[in-house]
């Protein structure tokens, strides 16, 4: 049985629908990310689970119990806020023990649990320090310890890493993942950062304009996006519209000047996306798309190239693996495999 079940969860503000009929089951111990651009309804969803926002319709069921009438302070969920929301007048230790005191735990047990929580986030030495005198990363850890120490049934993370600088964010991602594995708490992460969602989650829920676009594990969501929106939001994507053609009894897909043999597969109908890292520079050939290298940007471990072709601009990512990269302005030929073309449903209401 699922641990947390959202059924047709909907929130409307006047005419605006923030969340539209969201349904999702989360298993015990699972790490699920709600991913989407700002205004897609992911934070509203989190706030409905937390009990800060009342759903217009739909239900939230935790461990078989409907949370509809349970106020926020009786739900027993741990929340880490984007700005940490630590109590500035309390030390790290006092912040963490606040939730335990609310549960009516004795002094000695509080102290033991606080020490345990601080050890989990490796901040034992800062127990008596006030948040104003801690770095962003340390405040983040205290906030995490404060949420976990009450042994919540579900941990809710609201863009917890977005205020950290890039290097620290990567470190915290790894640490968050390992802490979540250690304690095994069911976790829901709200983020607009696709790499964060890919790195941390067991499953990703991609949301757009209040609706769920796709629910899948990170690899399948990236490799087989359900819609053009998901393809474009999770990583970079080139979108093509192949025309089916028949060549000596074999189906081929024509994209611009390229005729791609389908090797027995049917030609996809409608739009397909091709990830930039799946595209190679090759010699002139029937199956290659000619173009002119417009720009190339060196990014350390890879090159990001923009190529002008007859079907529009195409992004190509090439590993910095020792092979030479064509110079800007050179004519290039792009190739990719038939199976790297992923059919997607076109974007609804695309701008």
């Amino acid at each position: 049985m699922s641990h947390l079940v959202l059924k047709g969860l909907t929130k409307r503000y006047g005419n605006l629908t923030a969340v539209d009929g969201l349904s999702l089951s989360v298993d015990q111990g699972e790490f699920v990310s709600l991913l989407g651009p700002s205004g897609c309804g992911k934070t509203t969803t989190l706030q409905m689970i937390a009990g800060f926002v009342e759903p217009t319709s739909g239900s939230i069921v935790l461990n078989g119990k409907d949370l509809g009438r349970v106020p926020a302070n009786k739900r027993g969920l741990g929340i880490v806020f984007q700005n940490y929301a630590l109590f500035p007048h309390m030390t790290a230790g006092e912040n963490i023990s606040f939730g335990l005191e609310m549960q009516g735990l004795g002094k000695s047990e509080c102290r033991a649990r606080v020490a345990e929580a601080l050890k989990l986030v490796s901040l034992e030495h800062l127990v008596d320090r006030h948040p104003a005198r801690m770095s962003g990363g340390q405040q983040q850890r205290v906030a995490l310890a404060r949420a976990l120490v009450i042994r919540p049934s579900v941990l809710l993370l609201d863009e917890p890493l977005s205020n950290l600088d890039a290097k620290l964010r990567e470190e915290m991602q790894l640490e968050l993942r390992s802490i979540q594995r250690t304690v095994g708490t069911t976790t829901i992460l709200v983020t607009h950062d696709q790499s964060e969602a890919l790195a941390l989650s067991d499953r990703i829920v991609v949301m757009n304009q209040g609706r769920v676009e796709q629910v899948a594990d990170p690899f399948s969501a990236y490799e087989g996006p359900a819609s053009q929106f998901v393809g474009g939001f999770l990583g970079k994507a080139n979108v093509f519209a192949p025309c089916p053609e028949d060549y000596e009894g074999q189906p081929r897909a024509r994209i611009g000047e390229a005729h791609i043999e389908m090797e027995g597969r049917p030609v996809p109908v409608g739009a397909v996306i091709v990830r930039p890292e799946k595209i190679l520079f090759s010699d002139p050939s029937v199956c290659a798309l000619p173009g002119r290298l417009k720009t190339r940007v060196f990014q350390g471990n890879h090159w990001l190239c923009q190529v002008d072709t007859s079907v529009g601009e195409v992004s190509v990512i090439r590993q910095n693996d020792g092979q030479s990269i064509p110079a800007e302005g050179e004519t290039v030929y792009l190739r990719w495999r038939a199976q790297d073309m992923r059919p997607v449903t076109p974007q609804e209401g695309a701008p």
Binding site: K74, F87, H89, F98, M102
Partner: protein
């Protein structure tokens, strides 16, 4: 022109210092000086050094009563303003947007009306034939007419009305600095709404409560118009007593001594309170 770098800050702040000295330091010092002069009923003010005025104040029970009343009323007003003003500011901060601004205007509106006019308004309500007295009688809560004029209660009520906006402004300012999700965080950790206010909100707005209380206490202790109109001749406070000495008896030295003692006593109370609060809530002050 080459100026010694150490002299530069002094030169730059010189205009303000001159203004400050002329209009605050000099008059204060003059009052301090006059308080040591002597006063003869037929000879007027004598420029001699004497502690006579201070001895008179410190040995006469009449003045003790005046000081006790002044600080008693000021303390009561501060306490009531603290409770009303903080609650008001908190409720205001939780209102939704068009109402928030409107009610803030309503709260601060009385500041636009002269204190004298407002106090005279209270005088109309307070008399034995006034609205309050008649309402209480109509409701059958009292048997005879109630006169709040010339009573400590009347002075306290009127002063509270005059001074509560200062408390609201001070607490409002520090409420604005609170991270709104710290309240949500406390709720999610299982705190009741009351616990949230007591353990999360109040400690964080302590600087606002402290500065509001200091403003209200200082203004209440030195208030003149309200105690003069509502308290009248019967209930003198230090400010009205000093006024009488200056302008009725023409005993400037005694009036000056009263004023100096009021200033010193008020400063001692406020500095002590401030130190206490700052030490207790040091974390929210930095």
């Amino acid at each position: 022109m080459i100026v010694d770098p150490r002299a530069r800050p002094w030169l730059l702040s010189a205009p303000a210092l001159v203004l400050y000295a002329t209009f605050l330091i000099v008059p204060l010092f003059m009052v301090f000086l006059i308080s040591f002069f002597d006063f003869q009923f037929y000879g007027g003010i004598q420029r001699v050094f004497t502690l006579k005025n201070y001895v008179e104040i410190l040995t006469d029970g009449y003045y003790y009563e005046i000081y006790a009343r002044t600080f008693g009323v000021a303390a009561a007003v501060t306490l009531i303003c603290l409770v009303l003003g903080s609650t008001e500011a908190y409720v205001l901060s939780r209102m939704s947007n068009p109402w928030k601004g409107l009610f803030l205007m309503v709260v601060l509106g009385p500041l636009l009306i002269s204190v004298v006019v407002r106090t005279l308004g209270w005088a109309l309500l307070f008399g034995s034939t006034g609205l309050i007295s008649q309402a209480l009688m109509a409701l059958g809560l009292v048997s005879g007419p109630v006169n709040l004029m010339y009573s400590n209660l009347g002075v306290t009520i009127a002063l509270t009305h005059v001074l509560v906006p200062f408390m609201v402004i001070a607490v409002w300012a520090s409420l604005q600095r609170i991270n709104p999700s710290s309240e949500a965080a406390a709720l999610s950790l299982g705190a009741s709404q009351f616990t949230v206010v007591r353990r999360v909100i109040v400690p964080q707005i302590m600087p606002g409560i402290a500065s509001g209380s200091i403003i209200v206490f200082a203004l209440a202790a030195s208030a003149f118009a309200t105690p003069e109109i509502i308290g009248g001749r019967r209930l003198k406070t230090v400010a009205t007593a000093a006024y009488d000495e200056f302008l009725n008896t023409l005993n400037w030295p005694l009036g000056a001594a009263l004023a100096v003692l009021l200033l010193v006593a008020t400063m001692i109370v406020l500095l002590a309170a401030n130190r206490l609060i700052e030490r207790r809530y040091s974390a929210v002050y930095n």
